[in-house]
Amino acid sequence: MTSIALVRTGIRPFRGAIVTALLLVWLVGFTVLHGQDTLALGAADTTPLHGRLNDLNDAVGANRNSNPLFLYFFNEIRLVVDQLTTFISSLVSQPAFGRPVPLIGWLGVVALVGFGSWALGNLKVGLLAAAGFTFMGLQGLWQQSMDTFALTLSAVLVALLVGIPLGIWAGVSDRVNRIVTPVLDFMQTMPTFVYLAPLTLVFLIGPASAVIATLIYAAPPVIRIAAHGIRQSPKETLEAAQSLGATRSQTLRQVMLPLAKRTIVIGVNQTIMAALSMVTIAALIDAPGLGRVVLRSLQSLDVGTAFNAGLSIVIMAIVFDRVTTAASVRVERARRTTSRIPARVRKVALLVGGAVTAVCLYLSYTFVWAAEFPTDFDVGSPISRAASAVTDWAQLHLSALTSDFKELVTNSLLNPFQSLLTDSPWWLLFAVLVGIAAVAGSVRTAVTTALCLALIVGTGLWFDAMTTLAATLVATVAVMALGLVLGVWMGRSVRVDRVIRPVLDAAQTMPSFVYLVPFVALFAASRFTGIAAAVVYAAPVAIKIIADGIAAVSPTTMEAATAAGSSSWQVITKVQLPMSLGTLALAMNQGLIYVLSMVVVGGLVGGGALGYDVVAGFRQNALFGKGLAAGLAIVLLGIMLDRITQSVASRAQATTDHVRH
């Protein structure tokens, strides 16, 4: 208890005072020195480093077919992935085998998807899947949907093929787990965007790179969750198997895997959702599909078309999510059915369904009407027109409201803060940030921060990085505010939780790309649009973490506080929030990571800064090096923010634990 007393009375104010002093120094420095040493760089300007990266790109391009590393390694990977992707595409989306249409036409795909979902999940999700896919066709986006579908499928196949065994291995072996975990941690702090640039350097632009980027992004969840599932097997059950003389492989096959099956299926769900999200973003490196439609129409500010394609993505996400969730429930329930009769009925029904599917496959292979999606019922154009009309109306009638709000936030919060970060001399800000990291975290945090900042200076994109940092921090403040209000509300009331949580869950399954569409509709293209989208994108995760933290506060403590006569407000501010400090810090950590990844995507709609640099790098060869450097700067920002918030989180967790015990 004495140590807490020390923390409470001695060290805390001391820390606070240092941070305040640092901020004051910064403010004074800013007023005196602002505009000096800002390291600003024009949008089309490059540094020698960027030039060298360009040269590297050229060198790789020139030696792609002679360098042994490429010849025997990267090119082989590319070839295998390319063949897999081409094969799956030729099944559902691209003309192949001398046919003007893919092997399986729309009728076959719809039947197969519906039947598969039924077999893996239940009849309801089977119908949902069939209806969802049909609707995508009616939207006039059959071709693009199938491209996205094929790419996602290819990436998911490889990700699962590698990820599940690796996850099981990490679950069984502590050593493997110790190696894999930090790698996965690192991969998860990287914004989706960042995977793309280095991959194009090695694998060129196109579907193969898109699939590789996607599988790298999508594999971590299933690895992590499979390992977790295996690790979760109750110790005593394992001991029981061991005490009966089970071998290691018997224990794995008969005890661990059956027990972890459901968890692994949840991992598959996460992987599929991540894959879909990444496949749409891979439009930036010329991946075909719905993402490309969204991207192009966002660039031409054609909100109607973007909305139509975004809707398709959402529908696909919902179908994937529902089907895999139903599959995990089926895994759980498969062992539950004590009576065998429904199982037999289901089997017969599945056989009949399989036969019908086979007929549909044959029809779609043979007849044009079943191969090419009919264009008679066009739902897409009305949707686009309606979305455009709503957008026009909103921009006309709500503009007073929306643009006022936008202006208010931009002028009173965003601009001053951004100017504070970008217009300070870089060395001043450098010192202040390292100082804050040292005080908030530890010496190690400070060293990491200094290293990251030094490297950012090295990328030549300090100014852009600080712009992105400003946007990220402003958005994170908003996320935390939302998280606190909604999280506390949910944590205190089971009923509110029950209403809000499904909405948040649904929001989390949406690919990040889609979030931009409505905000472009409301706020047009601007810096603010990206930030607003980032807030909405990152809020669900922060809200859920805070709600869980608040709900986890021991009911006995709450009862004691209430019994002592505390008001609700006092219970919240004096018991619940202090006791979930660790959770709040964790929410901030996750919020920051999510915000950063979305703020960067916001570069597409006028967010500027690093995100814009990356996008420009894909478009113009001369800016490739700068784009790569920008990607690096994003990673460095991510690592820095993650380290600082994590050390704050672990410190807060430690104090809360002290108090709890």
Partner: protein, 383 residues
């Protein structure tokens, strides 16, 4: 034993009083009596399990602890401070005779659960020997250890350790399955043991559809299915509520009568130990404090720790006539009823009080001593 029929029905147990003074009324020479010592060892068949100087130390350089004379002697706390190692089991030795129910009792943290896991090397011991019918288990290779676990020694766990994805019958026959038994043999044997533990009708239920007590019956059946020679119980009933616990204890007693397995039973509950154990080993901080029959623990506690433990035990339920009889005196009238020395006091109370004369304690026709109203009342009054 010669117990009059009217005494075989045990009386309802009286509430144990919180007696403060519990001085041992047993003469010193009686405690040390050779007949008691002899009973435990002489003429007994070779032990099924013999544990010799067993150590389990957790931590870095744990191996060094049992080897160092100095460290061996340190109490747990000091060892932890000096080396950072935690000694769960320290220099423990005991024998388990065939057919015996051997109870290891201790509070949480005493190392008893570690001990029972060391017996089949679910936890690898640090030093010492564990002999199963003369062969050192610690020297066994992986294969023969597995064979031992499959055929000779089975274990029942505190939280049951059942496989939630398998039905009761498949849980019970799991041990047979992994040792390669055919399907027919498995289902037949499973049906037998399920019947034996009274779970008939629940063969195709899943574990989480059963109550805690029934789940532990499944655990029991699983252990019995392989027909092992030894059953290890790791606090099997601690997770059950009191009434179910009593049922399960009676179940173990019944099974012991029916199948006669050797049992090593871990518990933290003294009354459970006294109820089930032929002999009881008391552990504290990884070390052996005392080993003996329930009557020996209650009648002659080795130290204050054991004395404190057994303080609230109703002595008349545990002590036998041997412990309370007095030597025959010249003026005793020796025509009272005869009892054996192992008759529990409680069962002789009425006979003594109804008889005008002191009762005679007779073993193999030899008069060992007498018990009169005074002796009986001394015990009953205390408890």
């Amino acid at each position: 034993m010669t117990i009059p029929s009217q005494f075989t029905e045990p009386a309802q147990s009286s509430e144990p009083s919180a007696g403060e003074t519990m001085t041992t009324a047993i003469p010193e020479e009686l405690v040390q009596s050779p007949s008691l010592e002899a009973k435990a060892t002489a003429g007994a068949p070779a032990p099924v399990i013999s544990v010799q100087n067993l150590w389990k130390v957790f931590g870095a350089n744990a191996d060094g602890v049992p080897r160092s004379e100095e460290l061996r002697a340190l109490p747990r706390k000091e060892l932890k401070q000096r080396t950072g190692c935690v000694a769960a089991v320290c220099d423990l030795s005991f024998d388990v005779a065939p057919g015996e129910v051997f109870v290891v009792m201790g509070l949480s943290g005493s190392g008893k659960s570690t001990l029972v896991r060391c017996l089949t090397r679910l936890i690898e011991p640090t030093a010492g020997r564990v002999l199963f019918k003369g062969d050192d288990i610690l020297q066994a290779n992986e294969r023969s250890l597995r064979e031992l676990r499959r055929h000779n020694i089975a274990m029942v766990f505190q939280h049951f350790g059942l496989l939630p994805h398998r039905r009761v019958a498949d849980n019970v026959s799991y041990g047979l399955e992994i040792r390669g038994a055919g399907k027919k043999e498995r289902s037949q044997r499973a049906a037998e043991v399920i019947d034996l533990v009274g779970l008939s009708g629940y063969e195709s239920s899943f574990p989480d559809q059963l109550s805690g007590g029934m789940q532990q019956r499944v655990g029991l059946a699983r252990a019995l299915a392989g027909d092992p020679e030894v059953l290890l119980f790791d606090e099997p009933f601690s997770a059950l509520d009191p009434l179910i616990r009593r049922d399960m204890q009676n179940e173990v007693i019944r099974l012991h009568h029916e199948v006669g397995k050797t049992m090593v039973f871990i518990t933290h509950d003294l009354s459970e130990a006294l109820k089930l154990g032929d002999r009881i080993l008391i552990m504290r901080d990884g070390r052996l404090v005392q080993v003996g029959t329930g009557a020996e623990l209650v009648g002659a506690p080795a130290d204050d720790y054991v004395r404190d433990f057994v303080r609230e035990v109703p002595r008349s339920h545990v002590l036998t006539l041997r412990w309370i009889m007095r030597p025959v005196q010249p003026d005793d009238q020796l025509d009272g009823p005869e009892f054996g020395p192992e008759v529990v006091v409680r069962e002789a109370v009425r006979a003594v009080l109804e008889s005008e004369r002191p009762i005679k304690v007779v073993e193999d026709g030899r008069l060992l001593g007498v018990v009169g109203n005074a002796e009986i009342l001394a015990v009953v009054a205390e408890s």
